[in-house]
């Protein structure tokens, strides 16, 4: 321990709350040689800064303030000290000085919260010079419940300080310490791995105080040297009580420490000692792990013994060590042992051998696939996957024929996952010799492995004597066959029939589709048409039809005129299944002129189908085509079919087309279903039409199921209908080198007087069908690190307060009638309604402008208006057209420039009691009052004057002053909010007084005032009772509307 000597130090403490400077003299210890002015500026009377200087230097002021810091106060002074401490990193002398200066505070009567902070700082920067003061705390009496103990705080620093003096201090304090302080010291010595403390801890391990003894036992394990091990062994041998698990744990930990330090012999002796069936399973596991770590390959016999034993609990653990045991010798030993083990042990060992990935075990694993035990055979098959490569394939193939389904399934899954270059080839090679069942399985494996080289064997299998094999081969070919196999597949296709031909058709079509040219892919098929027999011709037409294209269509058209009835009918069917709308007109004509009803129905069904396929056509064109279909349809069945086609057109014009059919008794149900479906799809674009349609369905339809669907759609529309879907958009706006966050407070034209001349374009909301309420700027504008503005107007039938609910990705700033009502410079994803702000709508039209910033990734926004109770607001109208006319800005409508004076209080009086006390600022001669600038705005409340932040405390008053410029004499409305009470003077006359106890709600109190032309002086008194303390104020026109020509200034000319 370093020598110390006593000097007197003065710590300046300024207690802000009483505005009195208190000097305290304290005796503290400072290491020798550190008493120079540079080293300890606050510790000698001559260097103690005068109060005036302290007030000027932020660090000095923070040192002065911090001694009175408490948990109910702002910690700004602590932050200054933290920053200062950090700044000394490169200057050891400065760091030592500040550490000393902090340590000195521990001996004063600074608050506990302050000392707590000092100890936290010393943990980070303290060194030997701080130890004596901390050591004193270790000797201080323990605090009772509900308070911080000095010992805990001291250890918070000492435990993490690397200097040996910290360890000395802990050891020195140990003998005299009691209770929790003593336990804490023991714990800290353990955590420091303090070998010098072992004799003391060893003695404490026998202490009568069970808590202290337990702590000592734990600490001995953490220190873990030979001396600690000896004591722990002694304890373990003697201990049989409740303390035994802790002793064993510590003993094992001690062995781990010894092993890590290189003394594997001593460690292994402990593990051997603990590896006993008499111990709990997890203790045996821990001991076994230690033995393996210390002895390596030497522990193979032990693991073998475990596997050969009768405790299955230990098999998984033993298997884990098999995996990690190094060397081929170990593999050999385990492989040799395999057949001699119980099935459960064999299964565990096989799993481990497979994880070892040492292929020298493969013969033993192969042998195990012949075991009588199903469990062993399955485990062996699984082990073959990583070990055997292609050589395992024949064994797996053989197992495919097992009588046990579990084994067949294992073999199948092993074949699908087997790894190695030649595995595919081995599987292919196994097919010719396999029976039909295995062939089918192997063909499925090939398809699953997507083995493209297997086409020849599959073509060969497609001619197998067994039909199941042939079908499986065609199915596999449809996955793996390329265009080069097309000729062979076509030949086989023409020979096949029934289910086999359908499978062949798919493989033919899939192979052809890999040729990019549409006519080339179908050419080989069409070439066969001319000479084919009718049955084959029909099959060829079906295949060609699935591929589509002009050439194929030509051939099918020709077939429509064939002499052969079956060919004509097939051609019609193929046409009705055409992959695009090319034959639409043809199908319509066929439907009109069909000789019989079935053909008419078939043609019309085909027509409706192809018209409904995705296309480039406009919705109006598609509807016109359906209308033609409706003309041709005669029976209700066909007309319903057309309606079901119209139902898929997502356009409100489709609603108009369908609605008349609601009145047709034969079609009303189908029409109702169609209306509901269309309404659902168009609800984001045209919610009024959609809502009207489902409302009509609910009035008319008697079908329960359609009514239920209609009700659901109406609820969705109503749920989202308040979201504003009509916006004008301007943007993007960006600035080189500025990210989204930085753009938030940059005023681009749309938020200035140039707003009207910007290009505003109408933008669609709900481009994402699942989020019909969202305007997706990423989709419509795109890009990163930019912003855009959204503008609309809102009609309110009366002046009223409403909630504006918003979501944004990322930041959002909102102006209502030119005044900022919300600002949140967030980085976040879209979450509708995440931000809610109460706003006042004027009667008539209101202008709503939102700025949405993007810091990368998605970029979107949404907003809706709800009542202050969260319910729907009746009578609102929202439209973006003409909203630019309403654009105006009155940035001064909330008063954002203030000076503050205070706090003012009276000893023993509450805030309510001083509400009417006239402090100097409201007295006639207010000269000599000190005024400071006051920040305005916090988080999403740009208008908030936070007095807690600038002054703080409870039961006090502050005054705020500013001046307002009016271009003429006029009546106006002053609107204020306050937490808590507020008084207002305008031009020296009291105009408002409200002794409220409340949180600040924007513009809660409204006061009629008369402004004179030119500058008007405004003075507020805001009184705090408890907790928060804040206010806000703005000036509006007498009718509550915006008053754009008002200016606010507090910088000059204040009286």
């Amino acid at each position: 321990m370093s020598r110390v000597r006593m000097i007197a130090a003065v710590v300046s403490c300024i207690f802000l709350c009483s505005c009195v400077v208190v000097n305290k003299t304290e005796t503290v210890q400072v290491p020798e040689g550190q008493e120079s002015a540079e080293a300890a500026p606050a510790s000698a009377p001559e260097t103690a800064p005068p109060a005036a200087q302290a007030a000027q230097d932020p660090v000095e002021k923070a040192f002065a303030d911090m001694v009175a810091y408490d948990y109910d106060k702002e910690r700004a002074c602590l932050s200054v000290i933290e920053d200062y401490c950090n700044s000394t990193a490169a200057d050891p002398a400065k760091r030592k000085a500040v550490s000393e200066r902090l340590a000195a505070i521990l001996g004063t009567d600074a608050t506990t919260a302050c000392k707590d902070f000092v100890c936290r700082q010393l943990r980070e920067i303290g060194d030997a010079e701080a130890v004596p003061a901390l050591e004193k705390l270790l000797a201080a009496p323990e605090a009772g419940p509900g308070a911080a103990s000095p010992g805990d705080m001291a250890r918070y620093a000492l435990e993490r300080m690397p200097c040996p003096e910290a360890g000395d201090a802990l050891r020195n304090a140990l003998n005299a310490a009691q209770g929790k302080t003593r336990i804490g010291i023991i714990n800290s010595l353990g955590e420091r791995g303090d070998a010098q403390s072992v004799p003391q801890l060893a003695a404490l391990a026998d202490d009568a105080d069970a808590d202290a003894s337990s702590a000592a036992v734990a600490a001995l394990g953490k220190i873990g040297n030979a001396e600690a091990a000896a004591k722990l062994k002694q304890l373990k041998d003697a201990c049989i009580g409740a303390a035994r698990p802790l002793v064993i744990d510590s003993y094992l930990l001690c062995a781990d420490r010894l092993a890590a330090a290189g003394d594997k012999v001593a460690a292994a002796a402990i593990y051997d000692d603990m590896f006993c069936p008499c111990e709990a399973a997890h203790v045996q596991i821990a001991a076994l792990q230690g033995i393996v770590n210390c002895r390596g390959e030497m522990s193979v016999p032990l693991i073998s013994k475990l596997l050969a034993g009768d405790d299955p609990n230990l098999f998984p653990t033993a298997a884990r060590y098999v995996v990690d045991m190094p060397g081929q010798q170990a593999t050999k030993a385990f492989a040799d042992q395999l057949p001699k083990l119980s099935p459960a042990a064999q299964a565990a060992l096989l799993g481990a051998l497979s994880e070892r990935k040492d292929t020298s075990a493969t013969p033993a694993v192969i042998e195990a696939t012949k075991s009588k035990s199903l469990m062993v055979r399955n485990a062996a098959l699984q082990a073959l996957v990583p070990l055997a490569g292609a050589s395992g394939v024949p064994i797996m193939v053989k197992a495919l024929g097992s009588e046990e389904s579990a084994e067949r399934n294992t073999a199948l899954s092993c074949l699908k996952t087997a790894q190695g270059e030649m595995v595919d080839a081995a599987i292919v090679a196994a097919i010719p010799g396999a029976d039909a069942g295995r062939k089918v399985a192997l063909i499925q494996v090939i398809a699953d492995r997507n083995c493209s080289a297997a086409a020849p064997i599959l073509l060969w299998s497609a001619q197998d004597a067994d039909k199941k094999v042939r079908i499986a081969a065609f199915d596999a070919l449809s996955m793996v066959a390329g265009p080069e196999a097309m000729g062979d597949v076509l030949a086989l296709f023409m020979k096949s029939e029934g289910a086999e031909q359908r499978a062949a058709e798919t493989s033919l079509v899939n192979a052809a589709k890999q040729i990019s040219d549409q006519d080339a892919r179908v050419a080989p098929i069409l070439a066969e048409l001319a000479n084919a027999q009718p049955k084959t011709r029909c099959a060829l037409l079906r295949a060609a039809g699935r591929l589509g294209g002009a050439k194929a269509l030509e051939s099918v058209r020709a077939a429509l005129k064939s002499d052969d009835e079956e060919t004509r009918e097939t051609a019609l069917r193929v046409l009705s299944e055409w992959p695009d709308a090319a034959p639409a007109e043809e199908l319509l004509q066929l439907a009109k002129n069909a000789p019989d009803l079935p053909k008419k129905v078939l043609a019309l069904r085909g027509y409706v189908r192809v018209v409904g396929l995705p296309s480039e056509r406009s919705a109006a064109e598609t509807l016109a085509l359906f209308a033609k279909g409706m003309e041709v349809a005669e029976r209700p069945e066909e007309r319903r079919m057309v309606l079901s086609g119209v139902a898929d057109v997502s356009n409100s014009a489709a609603l108009k087309m369908v609605e008349p059919y609601l009145a047709d008794k034969d079609l009303s149900t189908e029409a109702a279903f169609a209306l509901v479906k269309i309404a659902k799809n168009v609800s984001a674009d045209d919610k009024d039409a959609a809502k009207a349609a489902v409302t009509k369905v609910l009035e008319v339809s008697k079908s329960e199921s359609v009514r239920k669907q209609a009700q659901e759609v109406r609820e969705i529309i109503e749920k989202y209908e308040d979201f504003i879907t009509s916006w004008l958009v301007a943007g993007p706006y960006l600035k080189e080198g500025k990210d989204g966050k930085a753009l938030f407070d940059m005023a681009f034209p749309p938020e200035t007087s140039e707003a009207k001349s910007e290009k505003w374009t109408s933008q669609k909301v709900g481009t994402d069908q699942n989020r019909p309420w969202m305007i997706d700027l990423n989709a419509t504008i795109g890009g990163d690190q930019r912003c855009a503005y959204l503008l609309t107007k809102v009609y309110s039938p009366k002046a009223q307060e409403v909630n504006l609910e918003m979501g944004s990705d990322d930041g959002i700033k909102v102006w209502l009638n030119g005044a900022v009502v919300h600002a949140n410079n967030a980085s976040r994803g879209m979450n509708p309604g995440e931000d809610k702000v109460k706003v006042a709508l004027n009667e008539g039209w209101n202008c709503l402008l939102m700025k949405i910033t993007d810091g990368g990734g998605d970029w979107s926004a949404c907003a809706r208006i709800r009542g202050v109770d969260g319910g729907k607001v009746e009578g609102l109208k929202i439209e973006s057209q003409g909203a630019t006319e309403l654009l105006s800005f009155s940035p001064d409508t909330f008063l954002d420039c203030w000076q503050v004076s205070g706090p003012y209080m009276q000893e023993g009086k509450t805030g309510q009691e001083i509400f009417d006390v006239a402090f100097p600022p409201e007295q006639a001669d207010a000269k000599g009052v000190e005024w400071n600038d006051q920040d305005v705005g916090e988080g999403n409340k740009p208008w908030l004057i936070n007095l807690d932040a600038s002054i703080g405390g409870d039961d006090r008053a502050a005054y705020l002053r500013t001046r307002i410029h009016s271009p003429k004499e006029q009546d106006a409305q002053l609107e204020v909010g306050s937490d808590d009470g507020i008084k207002v003077w305008l031009n020296g006359v009291e105009v408002h007084s409200n002794k409220a106890v409340r949180p600040t709600t924007a513009w809660e109190d409204k006061v009629k005032i008369s402004l004179k032309e030119g500058w008007n002086d405004l003075l507020l008194k805001v009184v705090d009772y408890k907790d928060n303390w804040s206010a806000c104020a703005r000036v509006r026109a007498a009718d509550g509307g915006p008053l754009p020509d008002i200016k606010c200034d507090c910088q000059g000319g204040l009286k």
Partner: protein
């Protein structure tokens, strides 16, 4: 007395599972009627921490017929009693007991496994005690409060061979696994940069001390953390914004996204060699975790990981030939065709979990390693702890991931752990 010869339910199940060597199947003799394991053969569980995440975890175990919850622990009496009520209602009987002190649950020989969903500063002490008692556990993320805590947790859990699942459920999400498989199989070429997007923490004003609510054991809630007077915003949920109990959003979400970054980078068992973090910490008010943060990590394999509140949410892997971006329920890639890519036999296939809770239950029975084991969770959360240290010191740090030590940096080393309030220790 120690429980020599006292085979717990879990050990019984282990025996049954080993005998079948079918990890996911309980032998029929362990089954009750209707295919549900009989009560005596279920995994008997206790839930420690009954807040939002605790109730979520417990709900999953209550819904699983292979589990039986018999104990709930919380230092907030009303939460504890609500959870006990939930359990008893689920089993239609008075079967669940409530505890204020987790040590009483760990001391119960009939309990096989515990769920841990306390505030972060309690994870290590409870998990280490549970491991020493041979209990398996499902422990919420972030794993630890300090690097040292995670190291001791991992070592102790490994020593006793207990099963541990970290509540970083993204590891069981198919989109995250597939995204990492695309990276590990070099579908995006050679990986060079990973970007994780994690928001900043909020700030707040001064929160004056308040009376401790009746039924709330404030001293036990604080546990190892330095004593301070009670105020509600220190506790439920908001504890995570205070460095005494957590590391802010960086640990809260780093436990997810940086964990996936490590998975894709194949560095689950190691860590970066350089860390440079800069952040903004509130200077006032109760909360003191970073409101804005940006940390760049450099790995020995040359890959750079950039974790920032300015990055898009989720994890983006950038390679020489493309990129993959994965987030919850979302995966995108360039080229788009990667999304249709198939991972073939012989390529890197990552651990496929059937669901995070089920994976835990399966592993309790098979004794196999879970998809989010403690060592991996420790390595992942170490990234967040290192970011906080670098930001607090406002400078670059050099790190030896093998030794888990800073290189010649005694100042930073102090931050690797904190002294614990007596009597708590690891």
């Amino acid at each position: 007395m120690h429980r020599k010869g006292n085979v717990s339910r879990r050990q019984f199940l282990t025996a049954a599972a080993s005998a079948a060597f079918a990890p996911y199947i309980v032998t029929s003799n362990a089954l009750g009627k209707n295919g549900t394991p009989s009560a005596s053969n279920r995994i008997v569980m206790g839930q420690i921490g009954c807040g939002g995440m605790g109730n979520g975890d417990m709900g999953a175990f209550l819904g699983n017929p292979e589990c039986q919850v018999v104990a709930c622990c919380d230092v907030d009496t009303s939460r504890r009693e609500d959870s006990v009520k939930t359990v008893n209602l689920r089993y239609l009987g008075n079967v669940c007991k409530g505890y204020n002190d987790f040590r009483e649950i760990i001391a119960r020989d009939d309990i096989d496994a515990v769920g841990i969903a306390t505030p972060d500063h309690w994870h290590a002490i409870i998990a280490i005690a549970a491991a020493k008692a041979g209990k398996d556990m499902y422990c919420q993320k972030p794993l630890s409060l300090t690097v040292r805590e995670g190291r001791v947790m991992s070592d102790t859990i490994k020593r006793y061979g207990v099963v541990f699942q970290t509540g970083s459920q993204q590891r069981s999400g198919p989109e995250f696994r597939f995204g990492c498989e695309l990276v590990r199989n070099e579908r995006i070429g050679k990986l060079h940069t990973i970007k994780t997007g994690i928001g900043g923490s909020p700030s707040t004003g001064v929160q004056p001390p308040e009376p401790v609510p009746p039924g709330f054991d404030w001293d036990m809630w604080l546990g190892q953390a330095p004593w301070v007077p009670y105020t509600r915003n220190r506790t439920h949920w908001n504890f995570r914004w205070i460095l005494d109990y957590s590391g802010g959003n960086i640990t809260d979400w780093g436990a997810h996204h940086n964990d996936i970054a490590q998975w894709g980078n194949g560095t689950m068992y190691t860590g970066p060699i350089e860390i440079e973090g800069h952040g903004v910490f509130p200077k006032e008010g109760l909360y003191n975790t970073a409101t804005e943060h940006h940390t760049e990590y450099l790995y020995a394999n040359g890959v750079k990981l950039i974790c920032s509140n300015k990055n898009k949410g989720g994890v983006r892997f950038e390679g020489t030939e493309g990129w993959v971006h994965v987030d919850r329920g979302f995966i995108d890639a360039h080229p788009k065709s990667l999304l249709q890519s198939e991972i073939k036999p012989g390529e890197v296939h990552l651990y496929k979990s059937p669901g995070h809770y089920q994976n835990f239950i399966d592993c309790v029975k098979s004794r196999k390693e879970t998809v989010a084991p403690v060592e991996i969770a420790h390595r992942s959360i170490t990234l967040s702890h290192l970011a906080n240290i670098s930001m607090l010191l406002d400078r670059k740090l050099k790190w030896n991931p093998d030794k888990e030590q800073f290189i010649d940096d005694p100042e930073a080393t102090r931050y690797l752990d904190r002294a614990r309030r007596s009597p708590w220790t690891l």
